[in-house]
Symmetry: D2
Subunit: 339 residues, 4 copies
């Protein structure tokens, strides 16, 4: 930590700050300049709040220097994390993976049709919600357990891996036999109790960035899971909230290279939520792969106009097939492959 | 719902849209202009997604007209909701109430001292966290049940009402005997499972606005609780996330008069989280009351510099006492009182 | 400036950074910790870009410590700036001033009526646009010189001081005989050529915060004017752009106490632009005064529904009169007066 | 325009709104539903402010239906605009163009070296600032006329087209003989006087999106130029301001496909300003081309660490050469070429 004192800070104020820093476990090096004294705290107490110092008398500015996360940082595993699934599919490797399917599981026919369509186009994972977080209490809330059973059945039938969203601690045990990846949605990125429990399971987790979460906060949320011992975490950029309203969110494509630099965890992009408009999804999917994403989540439905949820951002199957062809070209331009 | 067709929309497209509207339960009135056809959907299906129409072929724009919430709207109870507590304290009435206390319950002495200090200055509620949502897994996470017991004990001893944060469904039953108000934090504003459960209890809930939540989304989250039958909900503005980084958040004071107009629920302000800097809290507390807030949440600690959490935004007891005097003057200027 | 090196930074990298800092005029103090080296640059080169260091090899983080502005900082004039006008009206003193009037000067009758109405209610300045920045090229662009003449005439007749917006360098000389204050609108806050020219005139300038400008950027823009020798600058918070769309902008009330602390310049609030909705303007005007504003800009028109511009946020004269009465009570609650 | 009345709106209120709509030139079609009356205004008055209606008594919601811009809309020139330069280079065609060079012209040697480097790598335009908008009055402000002369000289020597920023009306005539494209920077996107003058010249203009400008506002600013008769306008996405601070701005890649759909004008991306960090520029450049951009602006300097401005986001020449090779692959994957 660095504390820069105000020009007119008194010796008493400087002593007070120095003592507080030492109480936290820092060794303090003092630089006395002609106009300003600077206190450099050396050492590694991970838990302290730099804001506490910013408001103390005599302080001009205070900065945390060390990273607030450890296990999620690139330095923990410089070579990068690769997650390997039972069927040999890997995430974080040279192959970029695509997870596709409808927003919600609606019925047997819909999910089987969707699964076949996305598999034929090259997807490796089937996505589909059984528990749905909906802004309105009056909207469709998902099929629950019945949806999970359908997902497992179609996964076994097609060889697709299954990813589905977990919203609540009590759902973890329920979902365990049915899914291959737990998805944590943007609204739950800071549901810390849920994250802590997911740190205790031994199944991969895909953690989506909250719509108002900084990159640092996303990595701190990943740290909750990693610190429980579950190292198989994937990060996902899915759009942040800005002043622009033409699109549902503003997909922060730059988060992809930034996260790849700061962390060893695989990074995926979700252009469906990122932009929210069907006809812009392909451009954003291409952009994410061009920027270095390890994979994509894409909403596809046999008939998006009749989808129970998120229809506006869901691709028609033929759009998805065409997009996959474009993505293969883009992937090879950046030295990767897509099945 | 209104759908404005593109200038060159075909008759087939117009028919397609009309049929989809009718399937949802709308009666459709058509206005055919020289350049553009407009379809007005009359009726009240509450569940439909206007975005589904925005991406359909031939559509220029589509607008939802009816409000997506019903019970939270001002029209449901035009005279406004007043919540009355067992000791006669009311929220939503002419008196503006102040809820004050430390961010976290730390130990017996701290919480008893804080309670006496805020009571002496005029607070009616004691706030204090037993379960703490923290960005870092390595930060203090609260005393849990022990903290709740201390809160109840000090509440009984002082006559202060107790408000504390619930983060998880499993905590509801645990907290029930100890608190007078359940607080839902900003990070859980869209934890819909939690909201639904809180709709089933018979105890008031204070619902904080998420840092990236629109006013409409806040009211939809309140609707989750109200639709379960729990009508005692208070709303709370506590700062939104913007590009400005000097303050922790940007407290949206205008949300106070906007919410008072749109909804019948009481509206409080939380200047501590709103601004995040101790020396700016008084100005924002005054502003909130001047703008019509029904009350305030303010963090006060016997020794903020040693607080386990949020010290930078926590008032010293003497600052709080002085602020309460200022607030009484402001309140009377807007036709209200503060004890 | 502080540069914290990465844990594995090489001695060569440290030397490279040290040399670059010295070239800029810093003396460099080095703290070598067990894990990390920290370089503290002492001295006062005002022009350097800390971002240049953030991307250099081996650097973990780099912070500017000294303030990038000098003349606008509170330290330059700790007692605060008071601007005194020819008729004895002051801004920055114990009296809070109100500047009111229509968005645009439309015709002789309109501006004379408005002037009388706002004067009767207690305003000291008449605001009115002669040159109008409009998002659309097809909107009313203002009366130009004719509007300026009307403003001067009505100012002389009523004793109200005149404030009007300057959009272009060539307008400065033209406006000089007609206005008492040059207003720089939000869109021109970083029109640096214009600011530099306004630094050369000897007439007060009211500088509005841009909708995406940080507080630091506002002060840097003020520095442009001050560094030319014109010290009579007023700052004005008028709403920033956020994700919330219910209001036109989000008025950042906290900017008022923040600016009062960081700078010696008077700070005004503009609730009309801040919120954009007539019925919310009074609440925000009260909040601004409660938070410590030195004055207000408020749009008032004899008949807002027929205003040529900004009608939705313009008060009816009777609303303004009522508001002024409320503001007097709020002002006295915070130790100030309003005429 | 559509006006949806409140449920309890009176007949008098409905009449009042109807009359106001007719005064503006609308024909009004009325739909009287069981709960709500809807007024559809048919016709094409381009100048009206829908917000004026939103605050009128009895109104629930009011929407503008028609687009507020005409000449900038895709419908004006459905086949898209192609700008052809004297040397045969085109923008808006199948070839994606790259404009590269230093932030500022610093001296003869620097600009000649930069020009040769970017030309060798495949750039068609040389960018370089002679007039610089700088946040601080103490920063380097550009070489002015001397810089323009150097740009022209190097342009003639190398065959590169010259693009440079215009900040002020008085600079237009000055720059006319020296540049091939006028660049309007983000801070001047709503400097309407400047835009109007640029509508009168017959030279292409590259208009950058402001950091807080919506896509609609960008198109309205383009409309200012087009409505003066200058149809050779290029749009440029260069990052918007959001809550994320790791990057300088958040580059809104989705604006590229959105603008391509809404407008006929060529759309470029500026990854240097978009992300602000040298090592992230290549990923964002690739993403922009993958999303369909017609070209790129990229900052390149012979020695970025010693650049007078924007060094942190400027590529080393060898980085640029490598990037151009990657871009050629991406371009061909989306059916385009880069020289």
């Amino acid at each position: 930590m660095i504390v820069a004192m105000q020009e007119r800070a008194t010796e008493e104020q400087i002593q007070h700050i120095t003592e507080r820093m030492m109480e936290l476990g820092f060794k303090v090096h003092r630089t006395t300049g002609a106009v300003q004294t600077i206190l450099a705290g050396v050492g590694t107490p991970i838990v302290f709040d730099v804001k506490d110092f910013q408001v103390m008398d005599g302080v001009a500015e205070a900065y945390r220097i060390s990273s607030p996360y450890k296990l999620a940082g690139r330095g923990f595993r410089p070579e990068g994390t690769v997650i390997t699934f039972k069927n040999g599919v890997t995430v974080g490797n040279s192959e970029a993976v695509v997870m596709a399917g409808p927003c919600s599981v609606e019925n047997r026919e819909q999910i089987f049709t969707a699964a076949e369509q996305v598999k034929a186009a090259g997807a490796k994972f089937l996505r589909g919600g059984a528990f749905k977080p909906r802004s309105s209490p009056y909207s469709f809330q998902g099929l629950g357990l019945e949806g999970l059973k359908l997902l497992r059945e179609v996964g076994d039938a097609t060889g697709l891996l299954i990813i589905s969203e977990v919203m609540e601690i009590s759902q973890i045990e329920l979902m365990m036999p049915y899914v291959d990846v737990f998805q944590v949605g943007a609204r739950n990125m800071q549901n810390f109790n849920l994250l802590r429990e997911l740190g205790l399971v031994r199944k991969p987790v895909l953690l989506k960035r909250g719509i108002a979460a900084t990159i640092e906060e996303l990595l701190l949320s990943a740290e909750y899971i990693l610190s429980g011992g579950n190292y198989e975490v994937m990060l996902c950029e899915r759009g942040i909230r800005t002043f622009e309203t033409y699109t549902r969110n503003t997909m922060d494509i730059s988060a992809i290279p930034v996260l790849k630099k700061l962390s060893h965890l695989p990074v995926l992009g979700d252009p469906s939520h990122g932009v929210g408009l069907r006809d812009k999804v392909p451009a954003m999917a291409r952009a994410a792969i061009a920027a270095g994403a390890d994979g994509l989540l894409i909403e596809v439905h046999p008939n998006p106009e009749k989808a129970f949820s998120d229809g506006a951002q869901t691709l028609f199957p033929e759009q998805f097939t065409k997009l996959m062809q474009e993505l293969r070209l883009i992937a090879s331009a950046v030295g990767r492959s897509i099945a």
